[in-house]
């Protein structure tokens, strides 16, 4: 690759070893009391590579069988901490060695509130994590940025959280844990309205509980029988999301909104857009609020992240897909560091035109996240 590209990475995962107890200083005394019995919650991803015997964070995954993905022992901290648990070491082990100028954190642990039945409990936990990362992580390395997480149970309260953190330096996007309510549903409008107002993209990322509980994201056709099947099916959620956003008119209602699909793949985008455009020509009257070709909304409003990058039979195939999805506007590099299937920036998109590589590994993220991405964060 062009070694001088200073990479912007839109998906870096922090891990908080202490789980929910880490946020206790950031929530009220009453909530600390209420959450005390859950202090160890999210303290591990259970079988996801962790072997210290701590209880599982994602119980259902354990029920399905031990997650077979490997543990990133190369990314463990110098003191033996879980990969991604030390912001300084993320800088040293990843940013320093791969010419990463900015890495945006995608905190998975707070997204695990998705099955909670109590909306205030969920909202309190994500608020605590947001403040925890702001205070404990961002000041450690000037290259760190973060997505705030909002709870999906109460979109009005989520909108209030977005506005509360509108001016917090270092927060660049709004992460919404997916549920079985499609993202074109008007239920989400308060979140979109607030995100548009503060100028942040809405971002979604798999939360680890897809297909695991009533109310969780449903996979097409039924439940996946193994983890590897599940892994191959995440793109379905991307497909459903794009179809729903466009045909339910989200971008007509919120003309300045940007929506980022992180880790749902991208090689399927051209085929989907061809189908949507063709269907719209005959089915437009079904959704008369859709005034332009569906692909146009996608090119203008929807962004995709790159990891896991495709391993196609030939580079020519990759280039063809990138051209057909207008990757020079729509695709942003992501590493997924420090997860097992992470992509190193210098290992992907090596054999494409340099200008396209530059767009993917840097410029598209700057355009999507806006000025916030490059504003300095106070140490």
């Amino acid at each position: 690759m062009s070694d001088d590209i200073r990479v912007i990475d839109s998906d870096v995962h922090p891990f908080v070893e202490d789980g929910v107890s880490a946020i206790f200083p950031y929530i009220s005394k009453g909530w600390r009391q209420r959450l005390a019995p859950m202090a160890g919650l999210f303290a591990s991803f259970g079988a996801r590579g962790r072997d210290d015997g701590k209880p599982a964070g994602i119980g259902i995954q354990v029920a399905r069988g031990l997650v077979p993905w490997p543990k990133r022992i190369d990314a463990m901290t110098p003191t033996g901490g879980y990969p991604g648990s030390d912001p300084a070491y993320i800088g040293e082990h990843y940013f320093d060695q791969h010419n990463v100028e900015i890495g945006a954190l995608v905190p998975v642990q707070p997204m695990l509130v998705d099955p909670f039945v109590n909306p205030d409990e969920a909202a309190t936990i994500v608020q605590g994590f947001n403040d925890y990362f702001l205070e404990q992580w961002l000041p450690v390395d000037s290259r760190l940025r973060m997505h705030m997480v909002v709870a999906p149970q109460d979109p009005l309260r989520a909108a209030a959280e977005i506005r509360r953190l509108a001016d917090a330096p270092g927060i660049v996007g709004v992460l919404v844990p997916p549920t079985n309510v499609m993202f074109g549903d008007r239920r989400w409008d308060p979140i979109y309205e607030a995100a548009q107002e503060v100028g942040m993209p809405v971002v979604i990322h798999p939360n680890g509980s897809e297909g695991d509980f009533q109310g969780g994201v449903a996979f097409a056709g039924g439940l996946a029988g193994s983890h590897v099947e599940r892994y191959c099916l995440y793109f379905e959620i991307g497909v459903s999301t794009v179809v729903s956003l466009v045909f339910q008119g989200v971008f007509e209602r919120f003309p300045d909104l940007k929506f980022v699909l992180t880790e749902y793949g991208w090689s399927w985008v051209p085929a989907l857009l061809w189908r949507m455009d063709a269907a719209w020509k005959g089915g437009r009257a079904n959704v008369p609020w859709v005034k332009r070709a569906p692909s146009e909304y996608v090119f203008n409003h929807v962004r995709f992240t790159s990891e896991p990058a495709l391993e196609p039979p030939s580079d020519a195939e990759t280039l063809r897909i990138l051209e057909n999805m207008h990757a020079e506007r729509t695709l942003m590099f992501s590493s997924d560091y420090p997860h097992w299937d992470a992509d190193q920036p210098e290992f992907v998109f090596r054999k494409i035109p340099p200008e396209l590589e530059f767009r993917i590994k840097r410029e598209n993220a700057i355009e999507t996240y806006g000025d916030r991405l490059r504003l300095p964060v106070p140490a």
Binding site: P70, I73, D74, W340, D341, Q344, F347
Partner: protein, 135 residues
């Protein structure tokens, strides 16, 4: 190959007692990072570089894996013979450097390793397949 060239590529990496069965070491030898494993009594030396995405694969321990089996059954095998990369999960048979079950044609680079007078000697001449101490 004459003796001089061989000597230049052969490295004494310690007494055989430093390599108990079931253990492994990560070493810098001749400017290369290599993993030396002893399993089922046999020594193996491999380059600390996964041929898929260049991960430091030799940080990992040897393990077994699930063999091809009938639907619904799990048959564990190759215990202590599989090196599985912590990036992307590719599995290599330490004996041959080949992927387990032929999932890909890329191979883990391995080096001849022998025991001479209780000294462990590794030869950093690239060789397509793993070499046992009995070579």
């Amino acid at each position: 190959m004459n003796d001089t060239v061989t000597a230049r590529h052969a490295f004494d990496i310690g007494h055989v007692s430093e390599y108990p069965d079931g253990t492994h070491k990560l070493l810098e030898v001749g400017g290369r990072s290599i993993g030396v494993y002893r399993t089922h009594g046999t020594l193996y030396a491999v380059q600390n570089l996964c041929p898929h995405a260049l991960a430091p694969i030799a940080l990992g321990e040897l393990q077994g894996t699930m063999l091809p089996s009938e639907y619904g059954e799990f048959e564990y095998g190759l215990d202590g013979l599989v090196l599985r990369c912590m990036w992307h999960g590719w599995e290599f048979d330490i004996r041959s450097g080949e992927t387990v079950c032929g999932t890909d044609r890329r191979r883990l680079l391995s080096f001849p390793i022998v025991v001479e007078d209780d000294r462990v000697i590794v030869t950093l001449r690239p060789k397509g397949r793993g070499a046992a101490s009995s070579d």
